[in-house]
């Protein structure tokens, strides 16, 4: 038998339920694999041998009974306070039962580890963290993405088959794209926010990060606490927002075009749509992400850890203090504008699509991307593509859709109506079928090397 972490999440769950796979052996194999394989990518910052064994012993029957799951460093666990990729979280959240922990526990899952993340969630690259940078398993010298980079890398490296991330400005979807996995930002508010360090924010939402859409559906169902119906996607309409191709790496553009063509061949009606109000999405997302957090950060905690915060994080927190209040007020109007634009667009089509990130994962050493318009910080480039879903609150995901010539993953961004999380998964499954699962079943070199 292959290593149990080479099985899908659903196969793990089914095998445990049928008695074919012993849950204790699965847990032990998972802990061993993390120990053996995580070094080069640095995706896991804490493992819980005794706590996860206790969770397993007490696990109720449920759809994820006995299945190990990793969670981002933003959720309170009964035995561990979240740290936000920093020495401590700034909100003063201690150990406890976050909603994500409760939902996983109630589904029978076992929280086996906490994953690395970009410091305070304030970046799309994952190269800044109190735990050190996190690399994509496809090339550990390149960024895993952020801020949920550890969750993306852990799944791609097959340390776990499912991980929970959070997404305040694209933070599930960028690492999903950079790591070649499937990541879904659920509609805002679908998962209760208690015990989530950025639960105050109007932009952030948790979501599943898995190798494929069927696994993401299973984990999403556990997180939202209800079934997420699967339907045929081949009769849905896909709206391509062509303006997002204006400044994109040529290989990324080609892979996303090719994916859309596969979806068309799979039966979807493909049409081009316009979205108004995109010009201020980037700055509005950045301002809101930074400034919504400020009232909740406790100055006394910051004072205690200031010397341990990265110089970049420290300076950017001060930079945000210079933002004019009127700019923040204007982001409300930008938000109203793009929310209405999405309603109009999604009245014409079921799902919108464009490239998830404008370029492949950049080097950890220098996280900038080369685009037709020039060289830009990856954060600056990425948030233009991902931020709209956060400003609006809509569900959005990144689905693997190809590789560059350097064998770096490319993701297709899919966006749906507030009520239609399931449709994103349906379209991602259609894409998997239409591409013979070539991109979701591909294993990075790191996984191939030690799997033998």
């Amino acid at each position: 038998m292959s290593h149990p972490q080479d099985l899908s999440l659903r196969d793990q769950a089914q095998s445990v339920a049928s008695g074919e796979l012993d849950a204790t052996e699965l847990l032990e194999a998972t802990l061993s694999r993390i120990e053996e394989r995580d070094g080069p990518v640095n995706s896991i910052v804490d493992v819980f041998a005794s706590e996860s064994a206790r969770m397993l012993a007490e696990a109720p029957d449920g759809p994820l009974h006995g299945v190990p799951i990793a969670v981002k460093d933003m959720f309170a666990l009964p035995w561990r306070a979240p740290r936000d990729g920093a020495p401590r979280n700034l909100e003063g959240i201690g150990p406890g039962e976050s909603a994500v922990y409760q939902r996983l526990r109630d589904a029978g899952a076992v929280v086996v580890a906490v994953t690395n993340m970009h410091e305070f969630g304030a970046g799309s690259t994952g190269h800044v963290s109190a735990y050190g940078p996190c690399g994509t398993p496809w090339n550990p010298a390149r960024c895993a993405g952020g801020s949920s980079g550890g969750s993306g890398a852990a799944v791609a490296a097959r340390l776990v088959a499912g991980a929970v991330g959070t997404d305040g400005g694209g933070s599930i979807r960028y690492p999903a794209s950079y790591c070649g996995i499937t990541g879904l930002k659920l509609t805002w508010g679908l998962v209760p926010s208690h015990g989530y360090t950025h639960g105050f924010a109007s932009l952030g939402a948790p979501g599943p990060m898995c190798r494929d859409a069927a696994d993401a559906r299973l984990l999403a169902e556990a997180l939202v606490g209800r079934p997420m119906e699967q339907r045929r996607a081949s009769n849905l309409k896909l709206g391509v927002v062509r303006s997002f191709w204006d400044d994109v790496d040529p290989e990324v553009a080609e892979r996303c075009d090719s994916a859309i063509e596969r979806l068309r061949e799979g039966g979807m009606e493909v049409t081009e749509v316009q979205l108004e109000g995109l010009e201020h999405v980037r700055i509005s997302t950045v301002l809101r992400l930074g400034l919504e957090a400020s009232p909740y950060a406790k100055p006394e905690i910051y004072a205690e850890i200031e010397e341990e915060v990265s110089p970049v994080g420290r300076a950017l927190s001060k930079y945000l203090m210079l933002a004019p209040a009127v700019a923040m007020a204007r982001t409300e109007l930008v938000r109203a504008q793009v929310r209405r634009a999405l309603v109009r667009a999604l009245a014409e089509v079921d799902v919108l699509a464009w490239p998830m990130t404008p370029a492949p994962p950049p080097p950890i050493e220098s996280p900038v991307v080369q685009l037709p318009s020039g060289t830009h910080p990856a954060d600056y480039a990425n948030v233009h593509h991902g931020g709209i879903a956060n400003l609006a609150g809509v569900p959005a995901m990144s689905a693997p859709c190809g590789f560059t010539g350097d064998r770096l993953p490319v993701g297709l961004h899919l966006v749906a109506h507030w009520r239609e999380n399931e449709r994103l998964l349906d379209v991602a499954e259609l894409l998997e079928q239409a591409t013979d699962r070539a991109f979701v079943d591909a294993a990075p070199p790191l996984a191939q090397k030690t799997a033998a």
Partner: protein, 70 residues
């Protein structure tokens, strides 16, 4: 604002708020200003007067007032 002017402004404004800044802070902030400053200035200059405020804003659901500009 040129980089020198921005640094002088940043130091003065933050010191007025009681926030200490060092040369590393100023260097990083200058880079951030170069990257995000133009977008912020464009937002400040944009005519959004025709965009109605969303009075029943709730990010968990679609806006109810989709009619009208913006």
């Amino acid at each position: 604002m040129d980089p020198e002017g921005f640094q002088a402004y940043a130091r003065a404004a933050l010191e007025r708020m009681g926030v200490e800044v060092d040369e590393v802070d100023l260097a990083v902030m200058s880079v951030a200003e170069g990257v995000y400053g133009p977008g912020r200035d464009a937002l400040l200059a944009a005519d959004l007067s025709e965009v109605p405020r969303e009075h029943d804003f709730d990010p968990s659901r679609a806006p109810s007032d989709v009619g009208g500009p913006g």
